[in-house]
Symmetry: C2
């Protein structure tokens, strides 16, 4: 059996993430939105590949991420995997020439530069991403400004790591960047310890992560109260008081989309694949 | 929006094929077998990519196909996309440096060599493929002999096109090779003329192809009678007398798998994507 490359495992992680079902509120194999469909995630994973190849070839993280986002966006559904790629890019870079330990990934993100930050800002020009207003004083660095914010980044000498650190308290993916991808690595262990179809394990891990912390994408698109309700309901599924399928129907109906939690699952799938998870 | 490469469209065709549902008897987004699951098709499409890259780079068809099969087989479900890759490899080669017309593909398959045939035989060593006994007199060329049949191929100076021609009457993919991929190109027009989600169009086209001719993979695994029953039942779906969903449940139950028809759908999706089908 031939071995998959690092970039192939990253691409497969994107595909397996959306193959898990049910993943309440997210597009999965059995649920989709009229304008954001399963097929858009397939095309997103195909399009992201050149960027993942760059990350795995130890190209700088920022440009690799921008390339991945540009390719991901080459489908008509809009943003499918921006956050997942922001998780996967440093992980793929760490897997390429280190051992993909938390400290290896930590080294990768700490080595990012102002140029990486600039590329990250440019990535927002390829696709509409739902984001909150920036905190007071950080308006010049609003990611929605795209490349217009780059002079300000340079003036403040902010690396991509610094940018992530500035939003770690409101964004679950940024929080991973500054914590050594703690939740991703923990969830990868759950995947490796599980049994049965990988897609089912991805669904289980999604519910466990959702029950553990409020999803920041829900905080952004709805509010903290809704995110906390979702967290309680996910815990109710773990307790056997509700079913994941009922939650999935309801959340899609209410347009509640725990996108950050899905991003972490994609990262966990990648780490697990690199560590021998068999598909 | 960045454009997908030829190899990316071929990979996306594999992913969209299995995303269409219902596709009675085949693995799709909502149905799978215990030992052959949706996730195996995801991994197959990821693994096939290096071979698709070779085909799109105008490498010889046979080795490109063998590479694609070897990568496809790097998952635990067994044969997921052998036939689909046998359809896609010459199409990708034709798309790479010609205009992907039926005559362009015809030229590609007629240019195949004895070395291409040898690589095709080696491909059978990477994965178990359900095939019939060869006709009388062709036992030395039984594909199940793998590389052991290569001296006989060389003695008879059989090209890969010759090999396909020898089984065109019993294998629907081989029949495409010798007919300028007639059914694939026709089905690609149906996809382009359709509307709505691409996955739904893939499902519709699958039923139409199934109603038009007996599926040769069913003939191989079951018998001609079953294949003809499946053809009639697909026509009944088109006539509104049965539903595709009922057929899907029944065929999975009976382990009836119209795999050749799925292979043609993958080819049709590729041609349609190359000709502007939007996802």
């Amino acid at each position: 059996m031939s071995e998959r490359s690092v970039a192939q495992n990253a691409q497969l992680a994107l595909l397996l993430e959306v193959s898990g079902t049910p993943k309440p509120g997210n597009v999965d194999r059995e649920r989709e939105y009229d304008d954001l469909r399963f097929e858009h995630f397939m095309a997103g994973a195909v399009g992201a590949r050149p960027g993942l190849d760059r990350a795995a070839a130890a190209d700088p993280i920022g440009p690799a991420f921008e390339t991945a986002v540009e390719g991901m966006a080459a489908q008509s559904g809009g943003n499918t995997q921006f956050g997942a790629l922001l998780v996967l890019t440093p992980l793929a870079a760490a897997a390429a020439d280190r051992r993909l330990s938390p400290s290896d990934v930590d080294a990768v993100v700490h080595e990012t530069t102002v140029d990486d930050a600039a590329a990250f800002y440019r990535a927002f020009e390829h696709v509409d991403v739902a984001v909150d207003d920036p905190p007071d004083g950080l308006e010049p660095l609003d990611v929605r400004r795209g490349r217009d914010a780059i002079p300000e980044l340079r003036a403040r000498e902010m690396t991509l790591f610094d940018v992530m650190a500035s939003s770690a308290d409101v964004d679950g993916v940024a929080a991973e960047w500054v914590s050594g991808f703690e939740r991703v690595f923990e969830a990868s262990e759950w995947l490796l310890d599980g049994s049965g179809p990988v897609a089912d394990r991805a669904s289980d891990v999604f519910i466990e992560l959702l029950a553990a912390e409020p999803d920041t994408f829900i905080v952004t698109r709805q509010d903290r109260e809704t995110a906390e309700e979702v967290q309680r309901r996910a815990q109710a599924v773990l307790d056997g008081a509700e079913t994941a399928t009922d939650l999935a129907e309801e959340f899609v109906e209410r347009d509640i989309n725990p996108g950050t939690t899905a991003d972490l699952v994609a990262g966990a799938l990648f780490v697990a694949l690199e560590r021998g998870l068999e598909v």
